[in-house]
């Protein structure tokens, strides 16, 4: 819990975003989210070229007993998806903040990042869910 990467931004719905500094961002789900879901068995990703809206459903992560929608933290166009996840969804379980990334976006408005949570604020969200 304490080792949330501080360089990332977070959404309440448990996605993380990394600003790549070139107008694009990388998106995944948090360590906490993968723990809640358990062993992932399938990941459904958007298509490259899809245009996403901030807060819109854009992907699905499935475990044996649950399926969760993933919401795009920012608006933008999908430039790349993590094709490795098709055969190895467990990568998200193993490395949610690294190799388990899901897709990259060319952000429509990079300032939308400011509306997201920093690591401390997201830690509080996790805390409040405990109760």
């Amino acid at each position: 819990m304490s080792n949330l990467p501080t360089e990332l931004k977070y959404a309440k719905s448990h996605e993380w975003v990394r600003n790549e500094g070139d107008g694009t961002v990388t998106v995944g789900i948090t360590e906490h989210a993968q723990e809640l879901l358990g062993d992932l068995v399938f990941v459904e990703l958007p298509d490259v070229g899809d245009s996403l809206e901030a807060g819109g459903e854009c992907a699905v992560v499935e475990s044996v007993k649950a399926a969760s929608d993933v919401y795009s933290p920012l608006s933008g166009e999908v430039t790349e998806v993590n094709v490795e996840l098709a055969d190895a969804p467990e990568t998200i379980n193993q490395d949610a903040f690294g190799d388990g990334w899901m897709f990259k976006l060319k952000a429509t408005n990079i300032s939308e990042l400011d509306k997201l949570l920093d690591a401390d604020a997201y830690a509080e969200v996790m805390q409040s869910e405990e109760h």
Binding site: D39, V41, F42, S63, V64, K65, E90
Partner: protein
């Protein structure tokens, strides 16, 4: 491990006495339409088949062999008589398109059943055609939609669904083109009426309710809920999954419901068959009568006639090619005749007695009730959150250990809002001795949790297979036997 029937096949074995002895030559179907290679189906003898499937059957738990207290599924005894009567040669041989002149006996059964279900539910009319509960739900919501649409009231785009509802409810609403909105449950297990008030309005097409709810309690606020939804112009849908609890005691029509589906494979004791067939007749209040799905049977003097799209032009139409699961309807009808008027309310009485007895005894044994202040209906919930937290033994472990003691597990992890829950429904056909044995098994497992948690976590130990790897099944999909993939 048992071989697959495919693995017992030997090429060239011809033990087929069940098909025509010769193969007629086909000369008038051109080659382009013909199959080039025979399908790779098993080549086995009749004895091999009989032995294989008899032995497979012995690897099942069933009502006929075990207590099966699966909550919200009403696993009661399926009378053999009802099966035999439905499988009379005359019924089995009747073609679905047979003319009315050769259908009067069958149609009389359906008509009688329609009438009995009307009376039992307090609705104005019944259609027997939906093939299962979920199809009944679809029919019900489609009728709600047809009603609003025909009145030009097209702004209603939302169906309200309590958070304790069966998953089929929101799924059915979506299939009819509606959005769903969840209504929370109050701490006492009843629908949170204040929350309902906040969201019901001109966009509300209807609400889907199960009462008694899946929480094993009768919603005492039902009349208030009905008033609120009706005042807003919405209709009330009754999910009949738990009708067994109130049969002959309260009628959904009297509670104010506009449409209801019944699960005949639950309340009317038709077999669950390893997952079906079910049957999901729908009943409606006056204003929805024109929209009922076809076909239905009507009576004119001594003659029975079909009602189809022609006679019912405003109907939502037919939902299966013919008349739904007719053979299931015949079983339900036979069962209903054997119960009779006096037997109907006994179903509710003794299923409720059994549930409350178990509810009490399990609490005395130290199990935590989800709603201890409430009277159980025909089912109730206990939660094992304490065991999970303190001992790391979860509900699934408990359920699997029950299998070792010869009991089918209750429903686990449903409803979703009670953590680590077991939903227990004993039904009226179980005797006290069986209930006591189950309660004793629960006590024993609780002791095991305290002394040897690993034993419980490793369960089952006595079944044909150990705990199965669900994750592997989903990640490495193997959905069909393929000869080339073997070895």
């Amino acid at each position: 491990m048992m071989l697959l029937i495919q693995e017992q096949s030997k090429q060239g074995r011809r033990a087929v006495a069940q098909a025509p002895l010769q193969k007629a030559e086909i000369t008038d179907i051109p080659e382009q339409f013909r199959r080039r290679r025979s399908a790779n189906l098993p080549e086995v003898s009749e004895m091999q088949v009989v032995r294989h499937y008899t032995r497979l059957s012995q690897r099942n738990f069933s009502i006929d062999t075990q207590f099966y207290p699966l909550g919200s599924c009403t696993m009661k005894y399926n009378p053999r008589g009802a099966n035999e009567m439905a499988m009379l040669a005359g019924f089995l041989a009747r073609h679905p398109e047979a003319p009315e002149s050769h259908s009067q006996g069958f149609m009389a059964c359906l008509h009688d059943l329609q009438e009995m279900l009307k009376e039992l539910t307090g609705m104005q009319a019944v259609s027997l055609s939906p093939a299962a509960g979920a199809q009944g739900e679809f029919a019900g919501v489609a009728m709600i939609r047809a009603y609003h649409d025909e009145r030009g009231d097209t702004g209603r785009n939302e169906i309200l669904v309590p958070d304790a509802a069966h998953g089929t409810n929101p799924a059915s609403a979506v299939m009819c083109g509606y959005k769903t909105r969840e209504i929370p449950t109050g701490a006492d297990g009843d629908v949170d009426v204040e929350a309902l008030k906040a969201v019901v309005g001109p966009q509300t097409a209807g609400i889907m309710l199960t009462n008694p709810s899946t929480l094993g309690v009768f919603d005492r606020g039902i009349l208030e809920i009905a008033r609120l939804v009706h005042d807003a112009g919405g209709l009330l849908y009754y999910d009949g999954a738990n009708l067994n609890a109130i049969l002959g005691k309260v009628r959904p029509g009297d509670m104010g419901f506009d449409v209801i589906h019944m699960n005949l494979h639950k309340t009317f004791s038709t077999p669950h068959g390893g997952g079906g067939p079910g049957s999901g007749p729908v009943g409606v209040s006056e204003r929805l009568v024109p929209y009922l799905p076809v076909p239905m049977v009507t009576r004119d003097g001594d003659e029975y006639h079909w009602l189809t799209e022609t006679e019912c032009p405003r109907s939502i139409g037919r939902l299966s090619a013919f008349a739904g699961n007719a053979g299931v309807l015949l079983r339900a009808y036979a069962y209903a005749r054997m119960l009779g008027r006096e037997g109907m309310s006994r179903v509710a009485e003794y299923s409720t007695l059994n549930a409350n007895y178990m509810f009490k005894m399990l609490q005395e044994a130290g199990f935590e009730a989800a709603f201890p202040e409430r009277r159980a209906t025909h089912e109730f919930i206990i939660t094992l959150r304490k065991q999970a937290k303190e001992r790391g033994v979860n509900t699934m472990d408990f359920a699997k250990r029950l299998l070792d003691y010869g009991f089918h597990a209750p429903t686990t992890y449903f409803p979703l809002l009670v953590p680590e829950c077991l939903l227990i429904e004993p039904t009226e056909t179980e005797d006290k001795g069986t209930l006591d044995a189950f309660i004793q098994a629960m006590r024993t497992i609780q002791d095991e949790v305290n002394t040897d948690g690993e034993l419980v976590k490793g369960a089952p130990h006595t079944l044909p297979v150990k705990r199965l790897d669900d994750v592997r099944a989903a990640r490495e999909l193997d959905l069909a036997w393929n000869v080339s993939a073997e070895d």
